[in-house]
Amino acid sequence: MTVSVDEIRGIRRVSLSGRLDADGLRSVEDDFRAAATAEPNVIVDLSAVDFLASMGIRMLVAASQEQEQLGGKLRLAGPDELTMRILKTTGIDQLVPVHATADEAASAF
């Protein structure tokens, strides 16, 4: 599990890669939180995430809520079909915007 940061069209992008299971989460949790809430507005790119379940969702929701307190917004981008299903099943997609690609997410800001 890795976390990396770059910019896309002037917006901070935090990309997660690998399995967001218990072990994966432990290895990126602190770095992700720091990266995703360093400044208002962030895109969290999930296109390289192979697995997401409730522990991972918890981490994404916490970062979204912190972004809201910063006056910014967290947008999710690029989940594969199966990861999208998890977001939909929990209803998270209705409270945290999800975009097909990071590009699309960037234009939504």
Partner: protein
């Protein structure tokens, strides 16, 4: 072949991680499609995190069991745990809040269980929560092959794979995440466990102790009690990370044993185990006998040492002086000794000594010292510097051939029985206590000399004092002053002195006994770490009125 995959572990965060690795493994071994496995894995995580969060305390160390089984394109995931009764399916899913800020962290898990599985069932039975989720698999699965490690099982060596597959029919592969009991002694056993990876430990005595036999990969356990239908004869625990093939008793007896080669393999494994156990038993018996022999020798050494000390009552014939000695060794044999020797009709040599160290080496050194002391020429009146020369000579003798660098501290006294003039040499020893006439006890502090046996060629400076009638002298080893109570505090010289001053003047046996019991009472229940030795000396109150002083029997 139908395979049931079982994971057993204690509820907690470690089980969440173990369950995640377990699901990836069975996904691969059962040939599940990516989308199917994803759904199942999400539910496994949900169940195990909930268990870690809510169930941990109620389970009181009882393990939870997760299992999956595939039948006709349907996968059943079951969680059995011994936590407080709780039906997650009865929980009304919380409606999604309107604002992100109102969303509870981690509160959406039930939606995952409901939304990702096709069917669900909960019941509380036999003290356990039993939750089953059913998944209709989208991608076709082929029947799984034998589990890894099966080919290495000794019982199945040279057994045709097809015959074994057919005999096993439905099998359970169990992963054990923590060190957990499989069987307790006295339990009825219904399964045979073949170790595929890791190890199980068979405790003949106390489970979790040091005395166990390890059953490693390729071996099996439980076949005996399945065959003879007797309760398990030992405690069997699996170590964390162990993988087992579990075969139920009817399948094992009716089908697996009937496969050609299996029975013979099992018997030869049993024969090897019996031989190994025999070797262990023989070795243990041999060690026990050696220990008993050593114990007997120590007891003998103790008796020999006790016989080397002068017999009580000391000096029964000489009424010019009255002496009593006492010694309690810390172990069977100690390094302390005392002695009282007439050098001629009017001169008495007495000594209390403490050899460094304890046990047999100290006792042997003590024997050397006593032998050297008793070899002193007798019968001629000792010269002025006799005592210093005697100690110096003993020092030189004990320095010779002393590779273990042993030494002793001692208090030597040489008393002229006519004049009651005492010369003494203190060689690194606690000072003697002296009560002159009716005066209270004081320490004989000076002069202090080095211990005996350390450095050859030393001279020893004597002290001198006259003992008035009624004087009492107490020699002792540091086992008295360093007697420790249970909190580690020491009796100390001050307390010893105070105690001696509080005693009424009486025969030497009383003084010796009083000091000895003071040290032992001070120690209370604490283990005695050093030999305790005292020698009490008293000059009769009236010169030549010795007849009135009758030494008491010990």
């Amino acid at each position: 072949m139908i395979r049931r995959e079982l994971l057993t572990g204690l509820p907690g965060p470690a089980l969440v991680s173990a369950a995640s690795r377990w699901s990836q493994r069975f996904g691969q071994e059962l040939g599940l499609g990516h989308a199917d496995l994803y759904r199942v894995e999400v539910c496994v995580e949900e169940l195990t995190t909930n268990l870690a969060k809510y169930g941990g305390e109620g389970c009181a160390g009882r393990p939870a069991h997760l299992s999956v089984e595939v039948h006709d394109q349907r996968l059943r995931l079951e969680l059995v745990d011994a936590c407080a009764p709780f039906d997650p399916l009865a929980v009304e899913p919380a409606p999604l809040p309107a604002a992100l800020s109102d969303l509870a962290l981690g509160g959406r898990g039930i939606q995952l269980l409901l939304g990702l599985s096709e069917d669900r069932h909960y019941e509380y039975r036999d003290g356990c929560n039993r939750l089953t989720l059913v998944f209709d698999l989208e991608q076709p699965v082929t029947p799984p092959g034998p589990p890894d490690g099966l080919a290495e099982v000794a019982a199945f060596r040279d057994v045709p794979a097809a015959a074994l597959d057919e005999a096993l029919g439905a099998l359970t592969v169990q992963d054990v995440a923590d060190d957990l009991p499989l069987l307790e002694r006295g339990d009825a056993n219904h399964s045979v466990y073949f170790v595929l990876a890791g190890a199980v430990r068979v405790y003949l005595d106390r489970p979790g102790g040091e005395d166990f036999t390890e059953i490693g990969a390729g071996e099996c356990i439980g076949e005996m009690s399945v065959i003879d239908e007797l309760p398990a004869s030992a405690h069997v625990h699996a170590t964390a990370g162990t993988r087992l093939l579990v075969v139920d008793a009817p399948t094992f007896l009716a089908r697996v044993l009937a496969v050609p080669g299996v029975a013979r393999n099992l018997m030869s494994a049993q024969a090897a185990r019996t031989r190994r156990n025999d070797r262990v038993t023989i070795e243990r018996t041999r060690r026990l006998m050696a220990m008993e022999q050593a114990q007997r020798e120590m007891e003998l050494a103790h008796d020999i040492q006790a016989s080397l000390l002068p017999a009580e009552p000391l000096l029964p014939e000489d009424h010019r002086l009255e002496c009593a000695g006492r010694m309690y060794p810390a172990r069977e044999v100690g390094g302390d000794f005392y002695d009282v020797i007439h050098l001629d009709d009017h001169h008495l040599l007495f000594v209390v000594a403490d050899v460094c160290g304890k046990g047999l080496p100290a006792a042997l050194f003590m024997v050397r010292a006593i032998a050297a002391l008793r070899a002193q020429p007798r019968g001629t009146p000792p010269s002025e510097d006799h005592l210093s020369a005697l100690v110096a000579s003993l020092n030189d003798q004990l320095c010779e051939r002393n590779p273990a660098l042993q030494y002793l501290t001692a208090f030597f006294g040489l008393l002229d029985l006519r004049t009651r003039q005492l010369r003494y040499v203190n060689a690194g020893h606690p000072p003697a206590l002296l009560a002159r006439g009716d005066a209270p006890f004081v320490s004989l502090e000076d002069p202090v000399n080095p211990p005996v046996g350390m450095v050859p060629g030393l001279g020893y400076r004597p002290g001198e004092v006259r003992l008035e009638p009624g004087s009492r002298l107490l020699l002792y080893t540091d086992g008295v002053t360093e007697a420790e109570d249970e909190s580690g505090g020491m009796l100390g010289e001050e307390r010893l002195l105070a105690h001696c001053r509080s005693l009424t003047a009486g025969p030497s046996t009383d003084l010796a006994d009083a000091v000895l019991s003071a040290a032992r009472e001070f120690a209370g229940g604490a283990v005695q770490s050093d030999d305790i030795t005292v020698l009490a000396v008293r000059c009769p109150s009236e010169p030549d009125a010795g007849e009135s002083v009758t030494p008491e029997a010990p």
